[in-house]
Symmetry: C2
Amino acid sequence: MLNKNYYELLSTHFPAWTKLTKTQQQIIIDNATLISIDKNALIQNTQAGCSGVLIIKEGTLRVYTLSEQGKEITLYRLNAGDICILSASCVIKDITFDIYIDTLTKCELIQILPCAFSRVMQENIYLEALTYKLATQRLCTVTWAMQQMIFTSFDRRLAEFLLNESHTINSDTINMTHEQIAKLMGTAREVVTRMLKYFSTEGYVELMRGKVKILNKKALEKL
Amino acid sequence: MLNKNYYELLSTHFPAWTKLTKTQQQIIIDNATLISIDKNALIQNTQAGCSGVLIIKEGTLRVYTLSEQGKEITLYRLNAGDICILSASCVIKDITFDIYIDTLTKCELIQILPCAFSRVMQENIYLEALTYKLATQRLCTVTWAMQQMIFTSFDRRLAEFLLNESHTINSDTINMTHEQIAKLMGTAREVVTRMLKYFSTEGYVELMRGKVKILNKKALEKL
């Protein structure tokens, strides 16, 4: 029995959906559950095992890791329409590092059981490509975030730069492109763009065309 | 003109080769170069840009990153038959973190130009799936290595454990399975296995069935 509700949800939120055969779609539907989760709930920790593939229908998830001192380090956030793939460590066997996922808001998630997902992925090259492409994208963000936060402390340097600039021009809005900031800081534009994006998702700054507006001076000073 | 030499090399070393059309194979061959590189040569750094996809015919590459203090941190090694995919940051656009690659021995590499590789990858879902699968595997190793080395200092803890154990039994060979070590250290077997594998590639220990032999006590003590 094809559940029309799931069918519509999955065909909307699942990029490779039309590349699946009817049978494969049915396997996914039969193994999908719609779950509601409260704000600030832990969805995944190291001990909990594999949560499967999660499609976010509503709300925001946060993926984070812990430092040796137990400090939470946000790696990225996922919003409505995003697919959480690093929660499926039994689908992607190479995931052996520690990852934590919690809800930042009340969430509605479509959870696809890992065994069913794996089975279809083995049969369907499009789903395999999609899964590994998503995983690559998330892992690049993870690697980047770890490298920035831990190795180069670029977050601190950029916060310092923005605060100094704001102090010099006596305004919260800094009229500079990412390119110009990168040049002045002696780094690549991509690095500046990604860190500003991180600052923006954390609510520290607002990004506009050719401008950066500081929203939370205290948070930047804290860095 | 199909170069028979490249054709044989690529069909041996390239897992998705038979899934490419004749035209796609020809595009790859036309854009592949066999290069010889001396020992201890830097192949890729942040400034050098994209080196393309590298297939290792002979020799060993090392992929590493630098700590804030400029300390080199080995992420993984690649040997004959392996494909180096994280060197192709213009094929996988999400790679914006700093990665360095050098040669540990004299190397023979097949270098595939990124533009040609990207073109075939966009046309061929099998090559796309292979590329992202490889990238996912490497990035999981990278994430794991960063997390172990930086966050949890598990390398130090394991080194301490092995040295203590060796001292207690007055022998360099510790008769314990990874499972037993993991239980005693209060961690997961996978974590122990991966770190021991890392120790072994660094020449610190030799791994045998149910045994760990310490080869380089000084290196472990240094950790």
